[in-house]
Amino acid sequence: METYRRHKILPDPEIYVAEMRSGKAPAPKAAPAHQLSLPKKPPHPKGRLRMLDIVTDDGESKHDDLVREIDRLFRHYYTPVVFGARYRAPCPVWRSERIVLRKGELPRFATRVCIYQDHSIHPDGAGTTPEGRAPASHIDEIGGLLGFISLRPQDANASHQVAVAHLSCPSHMKRPRYHILSTALGPPDGVMTFRGTPYYQPWVSQDAAVRDRDAAPKDPNVPPNRAICLHASLYSALLLKSSTFHCSPISSHDLLARLWQEQNRHHGAISMKAIAVQGFNLEQCLDVLSSADANAGGCLETISTFEFFFEARDILEQRREMLRRAGPDGKEAPAEERLGLFRQEDSSAECARLLQDIGFQILKELGISPDSLQPTASDPAISPQERAAVLLQFCDVAEFTRLGANYDHVASELPGRPSSLELLKHVRNRRIRICRAYGRHPLFASLPDVQMLLAKREARLCMAEYLANGMPIIASISDRARDYTSQYSEGHSALIVGMHFQNPVPKPTPTPGYHAEEEWPYEKSDNFLPSSFILHDITQAPFWEVSAKNLLTASVYSKYEEDFQVLDGAFSYLAITPRGTRIGIRDVRRYADALRKIHLNPDNSGTFAEEYRKAFGLKETPSPATTCMRTRLMSTQDIIRWYIRPVTNQKEPGEEDLRLHTRGYAEACKLITSRPSAGSPPTATESPQTRWWCVECHSDAYRSSSFRDYATWMPPILVYCWPVDHDSSSALALPGSDPDRPGFTIRSTGRWECTIRRPNLPPVIFETRYVAPQDRASSSLPPS
């Protein structure tokens, strides 16, 4: 931090005061920055919050709330922290809050506190560094910079004293399997640069209960700001992308003010109080993003299960066919699979019979007599279905027993030494999960289940694509993310700033049992789906890691029946994109998928795919089933640099100039930089800053490890490029144009040759030397 450097180089201005008092200059302080104005104190009893006296001048009893707040901020860091320099500094959030609050008696500036890792406290004991030696000096106690926070004045009557926290991500999230969006923090605030992710906590009056449904508001006259989570997510996202997308952050108070002005303009007089109470939704959020105040853009995408009806039906049909067929050994499929089949076909009698068979089999294994399940005198008329349900319960019990056999492992996984009550609770929750898993197990899946699975997969794919392109996502989730068993469904929002890829999960085994619901029916793409997302949630903490399954389950807004059967569901999320964006990844992926099925259909373009196979020595011809798609956000210059990469011999620098004479280079550049009008040749020129969604279709061999060395040089088979301001409604107005027609298409027709096509223009063939962007840094010349 620059503040640290400043204190080391120059005497603190307070020295001047001391000098004036005493008449002579005091001896320069040799202590490091974090001890400039404070005596060293023994470690805080809580261990992780040492030297908090820097923040709290008046004793700690009054500042328990602040202690808890900072503790919460660093909950997911798993490291003790120490406070560095503290000084007054401007804070744009507090600037706007103070002017609206009209509290002139409060200080104009916020208090900025730098926070470092504390190396003086080791988890095992006290007073040693992680290496086991005692710190040689105070500076050894200071670890890496974790960021700085801006504190509101203590008299501000706010429930959050921390206004904005500029935090670098936890160290365990710096591993390659994590992908965390970050930005260069510091220069706008006048301090030295570091990479991190901002986290914003809006001003909330202590009298207003916001997002805390258990606590009643102290004063009913003070309205709660119901959409404060969305305000925080929006501000954090804009702060995160302000330097990249050139957008301006809007704090919560500014957001309310803008909504008030907009509502006034369009819907007449309304009070600010009503604005605060009525809340804020993603559509309004998109309007604010697109406005000149924010100068950003957004894509609000909704993925409904209805869209996957036909795909799910095809999958189930295939499954049925498979189940109806006898196996190669002449035996029929196992009872569990047939149960799934019959359940899909709603044949209750068959289901009941099969369930009985399964139940009896399990009971036999467990040594339980089926007679104990006979109808009792009080309820003699038990139906076969009910009997089956009872047996199925026993099936769950058996499964539970099987898990419970590893009880010792369960106990060791639990934090601490749990009491028996906690253990029972844990076991109960686990049992509930098992039951649910049975309800949605692929073997027992019904059509809505498969639709939901496909929708979730698509949502995960799109969200992963947005994050991979550096665009944060505001997810509309419910409280069920926090409390799975709750049916409370008040809207909630959080900002997704990262994702986590874990090891590929194993393919499902044919034996019945508990499996992750996402494992089927898309085993192929699982390796590329994030297993969890990293959230900024004001009800939790920054960098909160949530499994994708839990997050998506909580994000579904739908109606549930008593048995958790989803009638219909949809996911909504808002991605923050550059200004002017009208089309999102979901749409371009859908368009590209449809085009891919046409272009790679062996009946239509067998020669084209076959040429590609021959050029790159693939074993099989690429087809829609054996290709995958990746989406990239690129500028026109990026496209020229990456896809229309000219053939050069970089070993001889003198030949660098010859690249412009590469066959087709100039024509291809001209083709994509021209802006065609409706049905006529291009007239104007595209700005180099125009951005495009580029959907690449890669062969599956690209991902195969055996082809890895070679596939580095394998260009995508097809690249569909849509301008981000592509408007499907206006495209419809053009004569002879399709809404899903891309701006241009690049086809790889040979080893170093591509064809670029643009509507209404003749195609251009050009030479290229494509290198996958992720491999470019480490790559050298390809094998000739």
Binding site: S96, G104, R108, M272
Partner: protein, 655 residues
């Protein structure tokens, strides 16, 4: 600093007085650069670090951020020392504190600040030729000023729902006190920031006086009402409608109070958040002026100016042309940088050193506007007085809020000074319209100018006596200069055996008294004459004394300094005045209506003629005795004024 002077140019053929001048643009520092919890207030006999540190670093022009939260206690202690009964409880809110100050408190604060500014600790005199530190602007922030309670009987109405109780009246009172303090300190402008442009989302139960503000109405109505309310507050600050509680405040005519410079603050929540809003405020202000005080409307119109913050202009996206086209007058300029711009995004976070985010090319049109247009001083025979100083304060304030870094201050200062010099060297685009704009840059100040020259020093002291003579010469010069410093003068040019000292009226309290200033300078003269006891009888002292508007050139060549050419020029001009004054007096004073167009130097002479009369009487009264050691034997007491400008490039020959 190089000073050249000329007098009535009728005696010097070949020089033509200019019709307009460009006042030199200088750079000041806003004291909000330092903000910290000191734990304990600094003692009242020394300045707070925000002022002390820049002065110690040689930065002599400050924009005082009056009553920042960290310095409110210091001002309170300062007054408590003198008036213990009036300041018993420590203040909580700056607005209420400054509103509670009385005239005697303000006067005491002003005197104490001047005294501390000129104390040896704060003013280390890093060079011989330096200006005394000064406060050029007073920065304030009274957030509730935009909503005052309009008294009944006003010719216009503000809906009752926009009136929010007594706290806004306090803010107006605080602004009035700030204007008077600025007047006492000699500051040229008082900065304000517009209040809140949106209602609060929720009323604060702890502050019932703010009312349960739940405004239901159109946003434009709200803005209009608050802008009108702000306009009313500004007029009220200059000419209060209520019965004055103390009469001292009204001894000073409101026309002498400095203007208010309103700053545009980017942000949806701020009232003055765009240039159209400021234009709307101007319209409301003029309407209120004409409605309430039609007789003083013209004078009041000059009291509202724009505080042009360049970083905010980048964020809001308006251009120089918008100011020109809409007739917006600029009173003060702030220069800093934000990592944000219109269409480029970014956050309104900390102030950065200019040039960190925006380049010189982006600052250039603004600096050109400031240096070549805002600083333009017209000299007209129709006006009375003939030179009307521009509304622009002449200073570009560096605003680095709470950066707490001295090196950032120096970085910003050097950057901005370099840029200003670069712009000064350029020829403005409007050269054809202003043929005389090449006359250079000068700054005007009113006061007494004292030219001291030790004659025959080279021959008598150096050539004959060698090292001993040099020591003696140094001793004599040191004695004379110490007297000047002691009496509150500035050495604006130094030549080894002579200097030019300037006694600015603003440095004396009360600053408006010519008689008192003349008395002080006369004391200096007496003191010099008494202390003039050179060992060598060959040395003789020549002294010239003048009063009036003096123009200083802010840049000069090292050669001129080394040869003390300006001092030699000054003394020779004084000699020449003595010979030519009698013959030319009729031609220059008063100018005949049908004569040749009067020279601009001539108008200056006329403007300072009254002062000359007073000074002449004093000098004659004191130095006419035969036995007095008056060394004014060159007769420079007959001169009337000194007109210093760059145009006098040729040193008049000694006849």
């Amino acid at each position: 600093m190089s000073v050249r002077q000329s007098v009535d140019t009728s005696g010097f053929p070949g020089t033509s007085p200019p019709a307009a001048y460009l006042r030199a643009t200088q750079v000041s520092v806003l004291t909000s650069w330092f903000e910290a919890d000191l734990g304990e207030e600094p003692p009242v006999d020394s300045l707070p670090p925000s002022m002390f540190v820049p002065l110690r670093e040689g930065i002599s022009a400050l924009d005082l951020y009056f009553l920042s939260h960290s310095e409110m206690g210091w001002f309170h202690d300062l007054c408590k020392d003198k008036f213990p009964t009036d300041f018993s409880t420590p203040p909580k809110c700056p607005t209420e504190f400054v509103a509670s100050l009385q005239w005697k408190h303000l006067r005491y604060i002003a005197n104490k600040l001047k005294q501390l500014f000129h104390s040896p600790q704060a003013e280390p005199r890093q060079g011989i030729v330096t200006w005394r530190p000064r406060i050029v602007a007073l920065a304030t922030f009274f957030p509730r000023i935009s909503s005052i309670k309009v008294p009944p009987g006003t010719p216009y109405t503000i809906p009752q729902k926009h009136s929010f109780g007594p706290n806004q009246t306090v803010a107006v009172k605080a602004l009035r006190r700030s204007l008077h303090l600025a007047y006492l300190l000699g500051a040229r402008v008082v900065e304000i920031v517009g209040g809140a442009g949106v209602p609060r989302a929720a009323a604060d139960p702890a502050r019932p006086e703010d009312g349960g503000e739940d405004y239901v109405g159109r946003a434009e109505d709200y803005h209009t009402a608050h802008l009108r309310s702000l306009a009313h507050a500004l007029v009220e600050a200059y000419i209060p409608s209520e019965i004055p509680e103390t009469s001292e405040f009204y001894d000073i005519p409101f026309a002498d109070l400095p203007p208010v410079a309103a700053e545009l603050e980017p942000g949806i929540s701020f009232l003055l958040d765009s240039l159209p809003r400021y234009q709307s405020l101007m319209r409301h202000y003029h309407e209120v002026c004409h409605a309430l005080h039609p007789d003083h409307a013209a004078t009041l119109a000059d009291k509202l100016t724009l505080n042009l913050d360049l970083a905010h202009a980048f964020m809001l996206g308006y251009k120089v042309e918008h100011l020109r086209d809409n007739g917006i007058r600029v009173g003060h300029v702030h220069a800093s940088d934000h990592a944000a711009g219109a269409g480029r995004g970014g956050s309104h976070a900390s102030d950065l050193v200019p040039g960190k985010f925006h380049t010189y090319e982006e600052y250039h049109p603004w600096l050109q506007h400031v240096v070549h247009e805002l600083s333009r001083v017209e000299v007209s025979r129709e006006l009375e007085p003939p030179i009307k100083p521009p509304l622009f304060s002449g200073y570009i304030g560096i605003e680095l809020e709470a950066c707490n870094q001295v090196e950032s201050l120096h970085s910003a200062l050097s950057t901005l000074r370099r840029w200003v010099q670069q712009v000064k060297r350029e020829t403005p685009d409007t050269e054809s319209e202003h043929p005389d704009s090449g006359h250079g840059f000068a700054d005007c100040a009113r006061g007494f100018i004292l030219t001291v020259d030790i004659g025959n020093s080279t021959t008598a002291a150096l050539y004959k006596s060698g090292l001993a003579g040099a020591r003696e010469l140094g001793k004599v010069v040191n004695q004379v200069m110490a007297t000047v410093y002691e009496k509150g003068g500035d050495i604006i040019s130094f030549g080894g055996d002579g200097f030019i000292a300037f006694f600015e009226t603003g440095n004396f309290t009360p600053s408006l008294c010519q008689d008192e200033g003349a008395r002080i300078v006369t004391e200096v003269l007496e003191s010099i004459c008494k202390s003039w006891q050179p060992a060598s009888s060959d040395l003789h002292l020549r002294v010239a004394l003048h009063f009036g508007d003096v123009w200083f050139i802010s840049q000069g060549t090292v050669r001129n300094q080394a040869l003390s050419q300006d001092i030699v020029t000054s003394v020779r001009l004084c000699d020449d005045i003595k010979r030519t004054h009698q013959a030319k007096q009729e031609a220059i004073h008063p100018p005949a209506p049908d004569s040749d167009p009067p020279s601009r130097a001539c108008t200056v002479v006329a403007a300072t003629d009254q002062a000359y009369q007073q000074l002449d009487a004093i000098v004659k009264k004191r130095f006419t005795q035969e036995d007095s050691p008056v060394v004014l034997r060159d007769g420079t007491n007959t001169s009337r004024a000194i007109w210093i400008h760059q145009d006098c490039t040729t040193t008049p020959r000694r006849p």
